[in-house]
Symmetry: D2
Subunit: 346 residues, 4 copies
Amino acid sequence: MIKVGVIGATGYVGIEIVRLLQNHPQAEVTVAVSQSFVGQKISDVYPSLRNICDIECQDLNMDAIYDKADVFITALPHGISKEVIPYLLEKGKRVIDHSGDFRYKSVEVYEKWYKLKHEMPELLNEAVYGLPELYRDQIKNARLVANPGCYPTCSILGIAPLLANDIIDTKNIIIDAVSGVSGAGRKTDLPYQFCECDENFKAYGVATHRHTSEIEQELSFIAGEEILISFTPHLAPIKRGMLCTTYANLKKDISTSELLDLYKKHYDGEFFVRVLGEGKLPEVKYVAGSNFIDIGLVVDKRLNRVIVLSALDNLMKGAAGQAVQDLNIMYGIPEQTGLSAPGLYL
Amino acid sequence: MIKVGVIGATGYVGIEIVRLLQNHPQAEVTVAVSQSFVGQKISDVYPSLRNICDIECQDLNMDAIYDKADVFITALPHGISKEVIPYLLEKGKRVIDHSGDFRYKSVEVYEKWYKLKHEMPELLNEAVYGLPELYRDQIKNARLVANPGCYPTCSILGIAPLLANDIIDTKNIIIDAVSGVSGAGRKTDLPYQFCECDENFKAYGVATHRHTSEIEQELSFIAGEEILISFTPHLAPIKRGMLCTTYANLKKDISTSELLDLYKKHYDGEFFVRVLGEGKLPEVKYVAGSNFIDIGLVVDKRLNRVIVLSALDNLMKGAAGQAVQDLNIMYGIPEQTGLSAPGLYL
Amino acid sequence: MIKVGVIGATGYVGIEIVRLLQNHPQAEVTVAVSQSFVGQKISDVYPSLRNICDIECQDLNMDAIYDKADVFITALPHGISKEVIPYLLEKGKRVIDHSGDFRYKSVEVYEKWYKLKHEMPELLNEAVYGLPELYRDQIKNARLVANPGCYPTCSILGIAPLLANDIIDTKNIIIDAVSGVSGAGRKTDLPYQFCECDENFKAYGVATHRHTSEIEQELSFIAGEEILISFTPHLAPIKRGMLCTTYANLKKDISTSELLDLYKKHYDGEFFVRVLGEGKLPEVKYVAGSNFIDIGLVVDKRLNRVIVLSALDNLMKGAAGQAVQDLNIMYGIPEQTGLSAPGLYL
Amino acid sequence: MIKVGVIGATGYVGIEIVRLLQNHPQAEVTVAVSQSFVGQKISDVYPSLRNICDIECQDLNMDAIYDKADVFITALPHGISKEVIPYLLEKGKRVIDHSGDFRYKSVEVYEKWYKLKHEMPELLNEAVYGLPELYRDQIKNARLVANPGCYPTCSILGIAPLLANDIIDTKNIIIDAVSGVSGAGRKTDLPYQFCECDENFKAYGVATHRHTSEIEQELSFIAGEEILISFTPHLAPIKRGMLCTTYANLKKDISTSELLDLYKKHYDGEFFVRVLGEGKLPEVKYVAGSNFIDIGLVVDKRLNRVIVLSALDNLMKGAAGQAVQDLNIMYGIPEQTGLSAPGLYL
């Protein structure tokens, strides 16, 4: 049994990790840290877990918790992890982190987009970007996995086959993305109040969202050249789910079905990537509650442009589910373990 | 491995049964009947199941399907089951039915509230009302289980301890209930359209809803006297979930905490019934996606009246989840098997 | 042109008053107080009003604002109004207040339910309860109108004809009520976050909600005897709207249609009260965005009990709309002025 | 008083026209045609209008209705209007039509995208495209106004200043659009059921939506060259509202604030077009319930690309509101008449 510590266990990502591990046959949550709810049962904070997981929330006291788990999954706000992650690595623990801190290879890019000084640049080289479909081999032995952002996971997996096969113009890639409100975390800011979100739809962070740089880094690695993109996130009145609509100009003549074949070949053997048949398109409803990413596409012959649709659950494949997938890889367990629930549809 | 046939597999209850059985280690869906989608994969109808369950929908041809399963779960509209259930029983199959047809002991009551002639009255005596917390022993060996309605499950379990302990006036029981829209099934009627339900709230079937009679039957059995109730269902703009607010006048002086103790004792050992502590109240969010029913209550000392709140997921403990619970009991499997997912909260 | 000052103009009730007065031909907002947004345009806070109402938010400086308006509508949190209302009255201004402070005739009842010491008991006698259908004549000349709560307006108007005609048992009145989230105001508390409310349904304040006492006061006045009620509020995932389902035992034999006739007679000439025909029931959708209260009912002959359904928009007839109705009465203007918009339905 | 006939009065667009005209001081609905509800009051179909508009629905009998109004607003499904519109024009009536039938100058383009033979090509030349910001002068005297589609209105007004000022590359215009569910009309198709839309988000009609050709026609007229665009509509779980996110590559160096100035100048005097200040972006919430279109934009200096956000209410500026605006222009009434309601925000 893998002993897992969850740090930041009562945020929306943290609690999703706790929830998923309840049905994981080879891992268990042995310590849950939540500074806001120290001493309370996790099921007092999230009563859905009553009689399922009633462990008590711990304070973030590293000396007291480090030896209670083999691996820690951290879902903390930026800036706290400096006190946490180097300590855990030093104690021989493995870490899967959800912040943006270890996703970058370039300190400069991180500091420019996050407007923060990076406190642990020496870890950037070692950290593995936790997208199994790109870095499975490195994840296996990683001490520190940087779990990708939700938008980057959805965007990168949607575009990767186009770049890997060199069939699009790299200058006009446009990603128009929509997320559910849980992506903002369990905050009490006014814009996330029910009456402010309900029946609303809006863009935010236009031309400035941090995930732009994360997507660009990975697309550039795949393409072997510097890729710059337009990325526009939007907020929809749904709890979970994400859809990316990506536009790229084709460099050669290819049909929708040929391109889908190419995608299917590219993702052959990837359980969690479902490439849809021609005429079918992803919907948030099909993936919400599951760890799948669904991908569909249409070639617009009039314009010689491809429109790729990719959908995932921002809390699952976009965060906690992917963390569990990484955990399984790190411990040599079949990747689907604990992740076999299909979406709820309803 | 128990072989299960699902008849009416593409309705909202049917597909929930199919979904649940994907994670059931001792049961599998061997045949799925859906007359609207014959020949299509069930995952073409519900793409959330893609790569999880891709079996083909069959026509309702009894001769062709009966020997493909040990037990059949029927989720059919009223009136079709006459051709189905007696046939299956005769072939030695066991059946869990979701219609109202076999929930009644009295043909008269059924015919009065359903405004239909009962076609198989001879089965009423044999059929077991599939509420495990009341009829577990009979369910074990039943050939025909009549799965209770969602409102009755939520109402009866909320009130049962009061009647069993003879502490309320039986004349003024009022049940004010609220359901999510999936309770209406996968219909295309105008009142269930998004623009008609969204941002709306309304009562329906006031003083005439069929479930009234089903609740009254069971409460009368518990009380040992005829119980008549007010039952008012409402429709809320949520997909799944149900909350009943029940009012009853107390015959004796008892505090909230004493009454909660009595409830806890009454439901001792019932895994799926969670009696909350004083000061805590059920919310739909805590049970949606799970098979739990949560019960909380407040004694209003000013009025010597108790207000009981009970919440469940209408598709789970109110339908498909309870069917799986019944299935487990019928086959001597631990009752929680395949039902261990907590609610999603998000 | 009546000059109106709105104090607390950027809360959800305040901004609704501002919005309504934009289409009022005989009243205009001459001063808008919002301590959180001093110096900002009201249309910067609520961009829906851009180019419609761009006045600047003022600080709550009584000396600076009192002479800018003839009448003030106050929508403040409890406890601030002590500095505001006596001052305004002394300066000869008229006031319509939205707090609970002036709705009670008994200081004791107020202090018991609000758990506060009343600071201005001398004003209680003078203040008029601003429910036009009950107190129209007193409102005409009132200096201080206490605008009723949303739940009380919806409950009292639904029950009044039963008590006025002495046809129900006064001991078993039960009001089961549901409100949209805007009823909580523009707060940033966790329970009102989108991800916490969406797809949820719950009761709150069971047996303890303050509006219980306000409803009891007015029902007692109508009945001429002390009335105690059960009142249970619930929260539904809608922005605006409210539905009350009220149960009462009939003292005499009366049919649904006879009772509806009695209601129609009782509310004859009341433009904003729409008594529905037999077989029709109110829905939130029919009143949202309008100042109407819709009332329907069903007599349950089996139980000799009446179930009354009443629906209104909590921000309109439940707050801001009623304030404008009161304003019109106070200034001798036709009551519908500025309130003629029907509900939006969509 | 202008007498207005509404044909198709009980669809979502038709009823919005009826609703708006209730508050129009110089127009009144004198005849409402609805073949599904002949003989019923319009307020029986939409009870929100009870006591506001109780006229009876008429059958589509042209001989019986034509002389009851001066102008007819038609909101019919495709293919019926052939029997209606030429007849009305011949009788000397003016018509504002909501179908796609008269929006095109080219029969070929219409027939290609609508996959229908055009039955009244002789009217195409005469018909005026009812977008006041582009064709106000022609609308004044038009007999037949073709009210634009919702997506085209939102897209064209968002892009027009860029093309009119020749500052973008015309080859890479991408419009990513999101609509509320009411855009589909009052249909009972499965995809528009509550349980299918709620908590969902999806694209549809990718590379094939008819509105693409309508947008292209108008953009080509403005640019003076043939413009082809990518247009991708999406469905969000909201009742009303629409947001377009448009991407275009800039041909010259221009800042966000300079470009906004250019937009403000372009739309100077247009009451219903609100160009937002730098740093502000449109939200559906700000326009829902009003006839405004809000436009904001960001220049992405990294990519020399502009992202334009435009939002409107698909039932108002996208349909019924614009029809009333056209009506006002046709009759020489101030354009805002009957359209002064701000958005509801809540």
